[in-house]
Amino acid sequence: MNKFTEQLSRNWIAAVWLIAGLALAVTAVVLVYNCDKCTPDDRLSLLVGYGTLILLFFLGLIVLVEIASGKIPLANLLSEVGPNGKTEAASLSRFQLLMFTFVIALSLFLVTVANKKFPDHLPPELLTLLGISASTYAVSKGIQVSSPGAQAQNGQSSGDLATSITQDQDGKITTTEHNRVTGQTKITVHDPKSGQTTSTIHNPTTVTTTTTVNPTPPKQA
């Protein structure tokens, strides 16, 4: 029922957009039709201009409304995604890149409105400003990705993880995983007869060995 209501609501909103767009298009056609001084070429260029404006405006408006309503989530706009796939705290390099993008976009818009045309040339200092900002973001990302912690977490995919699987005469399967970066070794022994799996993790940094048995063997009387 909820899905049906949601679908109905979306259709209703789409219908409103469509009607508003059509109303604007009809208004544009009436305006162009009533233009007495216009030549046929002028009328065509005006119609194309109005059509493009209406399409772009509604496209932008729909994206904006979806962002505002949360359907296009911005929650992680400033957050970095760590090497383990989890979202981390806000990133200052992303924040400053966003800020400069907004400032330069607004400036360009103000100048275009004042001049009624796009500026003929952009000052190289402006490009330097954006370049500094973007390269800081890139450097920050590079440092983050090449950090020892990130490499350790990506061990399996980057070839830092050595894995071997063996089976003995009793049918027990032994899997040994050694991470060359962290030095951690995990040995898993699975006994197909009893269904038990014993995992032993040896951590050389903290010099600890942890053994877990799954499922837990029954207690002897």
Binding site: L78, V111, S140
Partner: protein, 122 residues
């Protein structure tokens, strides 16, 4: 044609202003999280306040505000003013300090920490 350009200006103003407004509002109400913006995130240890980040934030805000002011009060309307070289130098220096600090936190601090643990360093 005049009406079309006026309408295009209004539409662009509404969309750009709307986007900036929505992002700013979402930052203010916490949907776009700013938590940990001024904290180190290196593998050296738990997150802590970072002066390098603070100075970069201040430099960024100051240079951005200065440039926006220069555009608004531009004596030659219709041209985009270039930011002064001094502002670029300040911003570049600030960003270099930030990147250097991050590199030290990420690569040097863990090595020093390991050496201290082994007793090779006091």
């Amino acid at each position: 044609m005049d009406l079309l350009s006026k309408l295009a200006t209004i539409a662009a103003c509404a969309l750009l202003g709307g986007l900036v407004g929505v992002v700013m509002f979402k930052m203010a109400d916490g949907t776009v999280s700013l938590a940990g913006l001024l904290e180190t995130k290196g593998p050296a240890g738990p997150p802590s306040f970072s002066p390098a980040r603070l100075q970069m934030l201040i430099a960024t805000v100051v240079v951005a505000a200065h440039y926006l002011h220069a555009v608004i009060t531009n004596p030659v309307p219709g041209s985009l003013p270039g930011p002064p070289p001094a502002a670029l130098a300040v911003l570049g220096g600030s960003h270099a300090v930030y990147a250097g600090s991050k590199a030290i936190d990420t690569f040097i601090q863990p090595i020093l920490k390991g050496l201290r643990k082994r007793g090779d360093l006091p």
